[in-house]
Each structure stands twice: as C-alpha cells, then as structure tokens.
C-alpha cells in the first residue's frame, strides 16, 4: 500500500468544475430565472457534473489521460465539486426567497435610529404574505395539492416531511418553529 499523494490538479479541477457550474448558473439566471429554479440548480451543480465526471472516471480513458488523473482521482475531483456545490445549494433558498431573519437585520440597520420595535417590523411585513407566499411556492413545485378548500401533501412532499420529522425525532427535538 503506497502512501497518499494527491496532485494539486485534483483540487484545481474540483474548483474549476464548481466555477464553471457557477458561471452557467449566473448566465441562465440573468437571462431569466427558471420556473423550477431549484430543480435546474440541482441539474447544473449535481446531475450534469456527476454524469460527466463518472463517465471520465470509468469509461473515457482518453479523457483521463488528457487531464492526467486516475479514476480514483477523478472521483476525488467529483467529491470536492460536490461538497462545494452542497454549500451553495444549501444556501440558495435564502437567496431565492429573502430570509426574514436577514431582512430584519438589514431593516434595523437601515432605520434612522438603528433600532426598531417589533410592532413596526410587523407593520412592514403585514402585506408581505410571509406564510401564504410559501404556500404558493409549494403549490408551484407540486408539493401541495388543493382539493375542496383543503391542502394535502403530494407523495414527494410526504417523503420530505417524514425525513425532517424523523430527523428531528432522532435529535430528540420537537418540530422546528419555522
């Protein structure tokens, strides 16, 4: 068993892969935010790079020779890209729908006295549909169905909800307050 020795090109290719995905993401979003933006984001950052790198790792020997990496090193590139992508994808919901927590901080900072009462903040949010706007999102993504005036979860949504409920139970915590 030989000692681990990683060429710097693994890190470089990982960063380059992530950067190329980011540029594609910015270009597409500036042209027009896709309807199912989260799904397109996953396609750009996860699906397409994973397919391409797995093909290079296991099938395209010529491509591996071109970049000077072994199959395992290509997998290392994939893991680096994937981990960097996870950071961005995890943070994207806060970019897409402005987080009320961050908005509150910016609101206070922008106020004349640099301080505000809760009632003043609530007034600003009165017409912002903080909850109903998210219900609309869930309907758009087909995670909610409305029937006879009542909302139910679709199958994918039930799966998501159960994952989170199970997760919180595993941690010994009640459901998040939202």
């Amino acid at each position: 068993m030989t000692g681990l020795s990683m060429p710097i090109t693994v890190i470089l290719y990982g960063i380059i892969t992530f950067s190329v995905c980011m540029v594609i993401h910015v270009i597409i979003w500036r042209i027009g935010t896709p309807w199912a933006s989260s799904a397109v984001l996953l396609l750009i950052f996860w699906v397409i790079p994973a397919v391409m790198l797995l093909i290079i790792a296991f099938a395209a020997g010529g491509a591996r020779d071109l970049v000077g990496l072994t199959s395992v090193q290509v997998l290392e590139v994939l893991l680096l890209h994937f981990s960097l992508s996870c950071v961005y994808v995890a943070g994207y919901p806060a970019v897409r729908a402005v987080s009320p927590s961050l908005d509150i901080l910016l609101m206070i900072s922008a106020s004349e006295e640099k301080r505000m009462r809760a009632e003043d903040m609530l007034q600003r949010y009165a017409d912002k549909r903080l909850v109903t706007a998210r219900i609309d999102d869930l309907l758009t993504y087909r995670l909610l169905e409305k029937r006879d005036g009542r909302y139910t979860l679709t199958l994918p949504a039930r799966f998501i909800a159960r994952i989170f409920l199970l997760y919180r139970r595993f941690l010994g915590l009640p459901m998040g307050e939202g």
Binding site: S5, C86, L105, V131, L165, G178
Partner: protein, 174 residues
C-alpha cells in the same frame, strides 16, 4: 484498501459523524439555542473525522507536497460537508416551507384558515426576533431591537449583493 479510496469513504461518511455528535449534544444541551448546538457539533465532528483520517490514511503518508495537498483537500471537503449539515439542520429549524409541510403531514390535511391560524405572520417575526436575540445578533432593550453581532448582518448584505448579480432583485418582491 487504497488510501485514496479510504480517504473518500471517511469523508463521505463524515456528515454521519456530525449527526451522531449532534444527537448527543442536543440531548445534553437542551437549553442552548439549537443552531449553536448544531454549529458546535459541526466543528466538533472534525476531531473524530481527522483522527480517523490520521490513523487510517495519513500515518503512511510521507511528509511531502502530495500529502499536504491531500490534507488541504480533506479540510475543504469536511468543512463544506459539515457546513452543509448545519444548513440542513437550520432548514429543519427555521424554514417556513418545511414547517408547513410538517404541519400538514401531522394533520393529514388543512384548510388555509387552519394553517394561517397555526402559523401566523406575527409568529414568523416574533420567533425570529427571539432567535436572533438568543444568537446574540440582536439586543432587546425596552421593547426596541438593535444590532448586536455582525455575522448574520453581513451575511444579509452578501445575499442582497448576490441576488443583484443573479438578477433576482429587479424581478421581485417575493
């Protein structure tokens, strides 16, 4: 097993280590702000993960550039995955959509009136104010809230800037 493969397996499984640590810490520190506990678990997870990497992979690694590159690689990948874990927990704790999905899953079905009664706009704001005070990002004095810590404040500015780069600011109010 090849050292590269061992390293990859340890790194891929590292979020599981953080999860187990988090489950233990969450039970030991019930009064601490949940996000702080999750953050500490993400940091503390580095200890067993890097101990495992040191014992299983780096102990046979000669002191060389290749070894240093591998160590830097592990640091970047672990940090990214641990940060992603923290974000996943934060989503379970603070995301409105997740709360809505979980409420409906628990109830079976809800009307809009039932849902907005369970989870009002006032709740969204007051919950966040309490949370920001607990995380030392806001200070509350005599009913007035002012900025205390700057971490989330600067995160807010960075997100605003990024929304402008993506062209989201010009399109919305959502």
């Amino acid at each position: 097993m090849n050292d590269d493969v061992t390293m990859l397996i340890i790194l891929i499984l590292s979020p599981l280590v953080v999860l187990l640590l988090h489950a233990a810490l969450a039970r030991l520190r019930r009064t601490a702000p949940p996000q702080r506990t999750a953050f500490h678990a993400s940091l503390a997870g580095a200890v067993p993960v890097f101990a495992l990497l040191g014992g299983a992979v780096f102990n046979s690694c000669p002191f060389s550039t290749g070894c240093a590159v591998a160590a830097a690689y592990c640091l970047v990948v672990y940090s990214s995955l641990a940060y992603t874990y923290f974000h996943f927990f934060n989503m379970s704790e603070t995301a409105r959509r997740i709360r809505i999905l979980c409420e409906i899953e628990t109830a079976g079905s809800v009307s809009i009136a039932e849902l907005t009664a369970l989870y009002k706009t006032t709740d969204v704001v007051t919950i966040r104010l309490s949370r920001l005070v607990a995380l030392h990002q806001l200070r509350e004095e005599g009913g007035y809230y002012s900025i205390r810590g700057r971490t989330l404040y600067w995160a807010g500015w960075a997100i605003l800037l990024w929304r402008r780069i993506l062209g989201l600011e010009r399109k919305q109010g959502a």
